[in-house]
């Protein structure tokens, strides 16, 4: 085991797959010579050269469109969209082209491509650079949606995404880039579509994703210490496919469930999971399902305002304590 940062795990995941398979190529803005605006691709251009690691023009539609054309013709491209907010600029390629091609062609076309993108808040960039948009992606049939919370998951799930025959949007939470964690040595490949129970508890299950996972864990420790509440924390890791089995078994065990979402409230992923829980195990529940989310308001950039919007460990702690009481 080596300790890596989340951003180093991105580099390691890509490098591992590029060494293994020469069909893997990487396109994006500032990713090559500059090593990425978040320094999450440093060294790849030096190792793999500018044929396989390509600095592109600021042309999100052409980046994803070309990645799709390349994926249809024998390559396994990784395309970076610098901030997930910019997916809106090329959403046609994501939703009308990439997501639907396997289906509309009756299964004739494989689209082994990964769209990596920096998602979410915490960096005070304001409403066009801080959104959590994983719920947009979850709504589109035909793409897989992954959002890791730890360096080990970054490396393992990124490797799995690159090997996957289907298109994957890989949401990296931008304020996690500097965080550290143990990553297995040697080749590390995880499995997409498996949630992880990261803390076992008996009284309540907290379902979280990406940046919300460390915050939920912090809240869970305080709930134990200060209120005697024992919380399970499940890191969802992948919204599509969704590991409903792990989620439902934890919910049944604790009979109480809280989702913690960074996306804005309306049609956030927690709403979908709440509906699945209500359908599948309503009679196992001892309390209404609770959703903790960013409000349905554009994000602000001022520290106090952003902090007031995105769920914090404090807010999770307070909400769960009150609801479980």
């Amino acid at each position: 085991m080596a300790e890596l940062t989340y951003r180093e795990a991105v580099i390691e995941g890509i490098a591992q797959e590029m060494r293994r398979d020469e069909k893997v190529v990487f396109l994006g803005e500032d990713i090559g010579k500059a090593g990425g605006v978040f320094k999450a691709t440093v060294g790849l251009w030096d190792e793999f050269g500018d044929l396989r690691v390509r600095d592109t023009p600021i042309s999100e539609q052409a980046i994803l469109g070309a990645a799709m054309g390349a994926a249809m013709t024998g390559l396994r491209p990784i395309a970076e969209i610098m901030f997930s907010d910019f997916l809106a600029v090329c959403w046609d390629i994501v939703t009308n082209q990439i997501a639907k091609s396997r289906y509309m062609t009756g299964g004739q076309v494989d689209l082994p491509l990964v769209i990596r993108t920096a998602n979410g808040g915490g960096a005070r960039f304001g409403a066009q650079h801080s959104q959590s948009v994983e719920n947009w992606a979850m709504m589109i049939p035909g793409i897989k949606v992954v959002a890791p919370s730890t360096p080990a998951d970054v490396k393992g799930l990124l490797a799995a995404a690159i090997r996957d025959p289907d298109p994957v949007i890989f949401f990296e939470q931008k304020s996690l880039y500097a965080t550290k964690g143990e990553v297995p040595d040697g080749e590390h490949v995880d499995e997409i579509g498996k949630a992880k129970v990261v803390r076992e508890g008996d009284d309540v299950t907290i379902l979280a994703l990406a940046l919300m996972v460390p915050r939920a864990l912090e809240a869970a420790e305080r709930l134990q210490a200060e209120a005697g509440i024992s919380a399970s924390v499940v890191d969802i890791r992948s919204l599509v496919p969704l590991d409903t089995q792990t989620i439902l078994s934890q919910v049944k065990k604790t009979a109480r469930v809280v989702t913690v979402e960074e996306n804005p409230r309306l049609c956030g992923w927690g709403a979908e999971i709440a509906s699945i829980i209500a359908e599948e195990c309503f009679y196992d529940l001892d309390m209404p399902i609770v959703r903790i989310t960013t409000p349905h308001i554009p994000l602000s950039s001022a520290d106090e305002l952003e902090d007031a919007m995105i769920p914090s460990a404090d807010r999770i702690f307070e909400t769960v304590r009150q609801e479980v009481d």
Binding site: P57, G65, A67, G69, A70, G74, S101
Partner: protein, 319 residues
């Protein structure tokens, strides 16, 4: 100098597409083809002339008016009809329909329902061919409407910058839906859009299969030699309006007659006959044979089973 065989191949291709589209019209009028169908009749010289300049493993990416490209690249007529009328044996199991026909066997990246949507796919296929070192070329077909889509500029820039083996082929039929292209487009001549990126750009007669073939052949040679993209605009015309059922009240008789007088099929026939390469009677016989083949394929498609809703959830993801 093109051989008689090559010229007859052009002729056969254009007549096949014309006859195919007539059957599609009938199918649509009979209520067999779901949604809208956009016929290629009138534009045959572009698809046939361009595809004849390609190797079988070169890529094409097409658009909503794309039956002609599929036929010119060699797709099977019965499976094309089957997709258009929503049968299980169609190219997309009846799920795609006319605007979503993909055929890997002919290296066709598909017709496309989004105006401009396939332009970056051809660009990406060209990037892939270049990186894999295969020598393949990609042709991107698009309508004049795409002259005003941002994705075209992104793709032209990328292709020029990276010297990609792609040929951009704009089929200017004068209209986008019911609006004249000239009424909504600045920057004449339109070939300047390619020149802005230092891409060799040229306008040619899209009603003359030989002119199309010559221009595309030059562009393909350039691409294959590693000299990068080309941008070609072919002036052409769509006889049947935007879709079957479009009354085309926005056109006048004078315009219609002018373009009919430039029809690429009789033009090539006249040339063949005048050059004593073939007799008119032989061409008539060929026309009749093609019609029989096309109608047989249409009938074959109509007999194919309808898709089964039981497997609607298959192929969203790899198994």
């Amino acid at each position: 100098m093109l051989t008689k065989d090559k010229l007859l191949e052009f002729y056969r291709g254009m007549v096949t597409i014309r006859a195919f589209e007539e059957e599609v019209r009938k199918m649509h009028n009979a209520g067999l083809a779901p949604g809208l169908v956009h016929l290629y009749s009138g534009q045959e010289a572009v698809g046939v002339g361009a595809c004849a300049a390609l190797n079988s493993d070169d890529y094409i990416a097409s658009h909503h008016r794309g039956h002609g490209h599929c036929i010119a690249k060699g797709s099977e007529l019965d499976r094309l009809f089957a997709e258009i009328i929503g049968r299980r044996s169609g190219y997309g199991m009846g799920r795609g329909g006319s605007m979503h026909i993909y055929d890997p066997a002919t290296f066709n990246l598909g017709t496309n329902g989004i105006v401009g949507g396939s332009v970056p796919l051809a660009t990406g296929a060209a990037l892939s061919a270049k990186l894999r070192g295969t020598g393949q070329v990609a042709v991107s077909f698009f309508g004049d409407g795409v002259l005003n889509q941002g994705i075209l500029f992104e793709s032209l820039n990328m292709a020029a910058l990276w010297s990609l083996p792609v040929v951009f082929v704009c089929e200017n039929n004068g209209y986008g839906e019911f609006t004249e292209i000239d009424d909504v487009t600045a920057g004449r001549p339109y070939a300047k859009r390619g020149e802005a990126f230092d891409i060799p750009s040229e306008k040619a007669d899209g009603m003359d299969v030989l002119a199309v073939h010559e221009a595309v052949s030059k562009a393909v040679t350039r691409a294959r030699n590693g000299d990068g993209p080309s941008f070609l605009i072919f002036d052409t015309y769509r006889y049947s309006g935007h879709h079957v059922g479009d009354k085309q009240e926005y056109k006048d008789d004078e315009e219609r007659e002018l373009w009919l007088s430039r029809d690429p099929i009789p033009k090539l026939a006249d040339m063949l006959v005048a050059g004593k390469k073939i007799k008119q009677a032989e061409l008539d016989e060929l026309d009749a044979k093609i019609k029989v083949t096309v109608i047989a394929a249409a009938n074959q498609a109509k007999k194919m089973p309808e898709p089964d809703a039981d497997d609607l959830a298959r192929h969203i993801y790899a198994a």
